[in-house]
């Protein structure tokens, strides 16, 4: 089959169906921030609404609560979702990162146990990877998981867990082989956050809301059947997650297209000729990002894989988002500093983009070493 950039009748019908449902169901008033307890539960209720209508995880198999559509249709849904101004996805760490990883690495029991509850937002997940001494250098993880009969005993500290303040579960990386170094001897373990020995300490982010948390673990007993993938092979599981995160799932083009459209509206409201080029540059980048994503998912659907290229994607979307948001603030002129303006929250959030999911500096190293074949750095 040759290159074809038109949408099929089925794809158009799917888009129309999504658009109609979203227009009828997206809350007219914005929900409170999901980094507050009240907002978190409002978003959980919205996730249930999505789920019950079959829109929570469109690309997942039907048995887990999805509708089994392909990745192109997933991109279409995402475009419609953000075009409709629908709420942010409070369950995104589970839905978009852990979910696909569970499908690849999980046992049949694990899939049946975790995926439908995740899709329904019965369980909202956070990620437990970073530690005080393991940020960009994730292989520096020290939190331990010690096998004790049919349980692991967890101890240590996780940090910067997004949505961790109110989440129900955490998927964490733990060192199971204390003798192994770096990325060897790590294991991915699924941890309920209400277990004895778990202490969650919310951390206020730049916007003042508790968007992430520290999670302290003191002799927390977790059954062995909550290990994801093989023991000591957690790094492979994590990298599969991270590759998908940076490359496809975390930031679909729909949200940036919607932001670019809002930026153009903002320019029309308060036009400034000196910022015209910057506004258009943001719109063009969102278009380019959309095309790049359709090319990536087409390649995946044709049997291709995603590897270090995902780092290319991550650098692009994070810098584009910052450009879009900061250009909007510049359009606001001196009103930009006024708290609660529609762009300030977006700007503050965008500032985290070049940091989380692996800093852009680390991504540049990855590109240089794995795509261009340059030697590893000495230090």
């Amino acid at each position: 089959m040759a290159l074809d950039l038109t949408f099929t009748e089925d794809e158009e019908a799917f888009r129309a169906e999504a658009r109609v449902w979203l227009e009828a169901n997206v809350p007219a008033q914005p929900l409170a921030s999901f980094d507050t307890r009240e907002g978190f539960e409002q978003h959980r209720a919205w996730e249930r609404t999505l789920h019950d209508a079959g829109w929570a995880v469109v690309s997942w198999p039907v048995e887990y609560g999805g509708r089994g559509v392909n990745l192109v249709e997933w991109l279409i849904f995402e475009e419609e979702y953000y075009r409709a101004g629908a709420p942010g996805r409070v369950g995104q760490n589970g839905l978009f990162l852990l979910g696909p990883t569970l499908m690849d690495f999980g046992t049949p029991d694990q899939k049946a146990r975790f995926l439908p509850r995740m899709a329904r937002a019965d369980d909202i997940w956070c990620q437990g990877w970073s530690e005080p001494d393991a940020g960009s250098d994730l292989a520096g993880i020290r939190s331990r998981a010690q096998l004790d009969g049919d349980h692991y005993m967890l101890s240590g500290q996780k940090t910067w867990c997004s949505r961790g303040a109110f989440a129900d579960w955490m998927f964490g990386l733990f060192r199971t082989d204390p003798a192994a170094e770096r990325h060897r001897g790590l294991t991915m373990i699924l941890v309920p956050l209400d277990l004895p020995g778990v202490t969650v300490r919310p951390i206020a982010q730049l916007d003042g809301e508790t968007g992430f948390a520290e999670v302290f673990l003191e002799d927390v007993r977790v059954p062995v059947d909550q290990r994801l993938g093989e023991e000591h092979k957690g790094w492979n599981v994590a990298m599969a997650t991270a590759g998908f995160e940076r490359g496809v799932s975390l930031r679909s083009p729909g949200r940036f297209m919607a932001t670019a459209a809002r930026l153009i509206d903002q320019w029309r409201e308060r036009p400034d000729e000196t910022l015209r080029d910057d506004v258009v540059a943001g719109w063009m980048d969102a278009e380019a990002y959309r095309l790049h994503n359709y090319a990536t998912v087409s390649r995946l659907m044709a049997g291709g894989t995603i590897g270090a290229e995902s780092s290319v994607n991550k650098i692009f979307w994070s810098e584009m988002d910052l450009h879009l948001q900061s250009t909007a603030l510049r359009l606001l002129g001196q009103d930009a500093e006024v708290d609660g303006n529609r762009w300030l929250d977006g700007f503050l959030f965008a500032l985290s983009g070049p940091i989380y999911a692996g800093t852009n500096e680390v991504q540049r190293n990855v590109i240089a070493e794995r795509v261009l074949g340059l030697p590893r750095s000495a230090g």
Binding site: M1, A2, L3, D4, L5, T6, F7, T8, E11, V72, I264, W267, R268, P271, E273, R276, D277, V279, V280, A281, W283, M284, D285, E287, A288, Y289, L291, H292, Y294, A295, S298, R299, M301, A302, G304, E309, V312, I315, F316, E361, Q363, R364, N365, I367, A368, E369, V371, L372, G373, L374, P375, R376, S377, A378
Partner: protein, 337 residues
């Protein structure tokens, strides 16, 4: 939606890469620079035998009958070797124009015997004029087809010595007109977009090759006791150029599709392609030169063959700023002055 090339396209690309790796090394590009026509007629014949030259010509007229989506990967390959032959002028622009307006003038084009170029008023110095057998020229709102013996050329030197620009004089006559009025206007707009798009594809190939050269050099060149490619300052410079290129390619591929399907947004799509590809090649050239250091600044080193084609094609047919403005005019209203 299927944004991926099929196996035939990939196989054709691989075959062309094989040929050009053998037949169009840097020494061959230098030879073309020193030749009269600015390119090698023998290599053009080899490309014709593979079907590349006549790719956009109807099968009935001796071509492959493919469209821009079949050509775009081969233009990238042309860029990778800084191909001096007029693939843009003849195959991407001239042949489809003649196919639409004067198919009787296509004789000898697919076989490589008749080299075509197209001169538009937007770019008064016509590229490939010195080596062309048939020139299609815009004059006073009409398009004329004129054979080489009937034109006078005044050479204009390009930074890329293979381009052989020239101002062209000829005597317009009723017999030379192949289109006038609205038909000519539409054909000129389409030819301009094809020039800009095809240049974008070549620019992507040039950027790719320059990054490859820079990465190779960064692995071999040692300073302070280590390969310079182990320094993050070097890595990040090349990574940034790679990001820019990686996001230019799908934009260029989309423009190919939009031209082939006569999409109503063709002009915006082409302008995005030319803006991104020009900037990507420019950044790759800067990064590659900096990584090479002084050796890259010499005539002897091959890098400049690629940089100069990148600069020439980046400027031709609307530079990045021109095309960004064209997108802006479509997306945002102009303020009243």
């Amino acid at each position: 939606m299927r944004f991926v090339f099929d196996e035939d396209a990939s196989a054709f690309r691989a075959a062309v890469r094989d040929l050009l790796d053998k037949e169009c090394g840097p020494a061959d590009v230098r030879a073309a620079w020193d030749s009269d026509a600015g390119f090698s007629a023998a290599r053009w014949k080899q490309l014709a035998e593979m079907g590349v030259v006549g790719l956009t010509i109807a099968e009935a007229d001796g071509g492959l009958g493919l469209d821009e989506t079949g050509l775009v990967l081969l233009l990238e390959e042309a860029g990778r070797v800084a191909l001096p032959e007029p693939l843009i002028e003849t195959t991407a622009v001239g042949a489809p124009l003649l196919q639409a307006l004067a198919p009787d003038r296509l004789a000898g084009v697919a076989s490589g015997d008749t080299v075509v170029t197209v001169g538009l008023s937007h770019c008064p110095a016509v590229s490939g004029a010195a080596g062309a057998d048939l020139l299609v020229l815009e004059r006073d709102g009409a398009l004329h087809a004129v054979a080489a013996p009937d034109v006078d050329l005044t050479p204009v030197e390009s930074v890329d010595h293979g381009r052989r620009l020239a101002r062209v004089d000829f005597a317009p006559a009723a017999a030379t007109v192949i289109a006038a009025g609205d038909e000519a206007r539409a054909a000129v707009a389409l030819a301009f977009d094809r020039y800009a798009w095809a240049s974008s594809a070549v620019l992507c190939g040039l950027a790719d090759r320059m990054l490859e050269l820079a990465a190779e050099y960064a692995k071999q060149r040692h300073q302070f006791g280590v390969p310079i490619g182990s320094f993050q300052a070097v890595k990040h410079k090349l990574a940034d150029a790679l990001v820019k290129l990686d996001f230019a390619r799908p934009v260029v591929h989309r423009a190919a599709f939009s031209i082939a399907r006569d999409d109503p947004d063709r002009a915006v799509h082409v302008s995005m392609a030319k803006a991104y590809a020009s900037e990507a090649a420019d950044l790759a050239a800067r990064a590659a030169l900096q990584v090479h250091g002084a050796i890259g600044y010499t005539w002897e080193h091959d890098l400049h063959l690629f940089m100069k084609k990148a600069w020439a094609l980046g400027a031709a047919w609307g530079d990045a700023a021109w095309h960004r403005r064209r997108v802006a005019d479509a997306v945002l209203p102009r303020l009243p002055r």
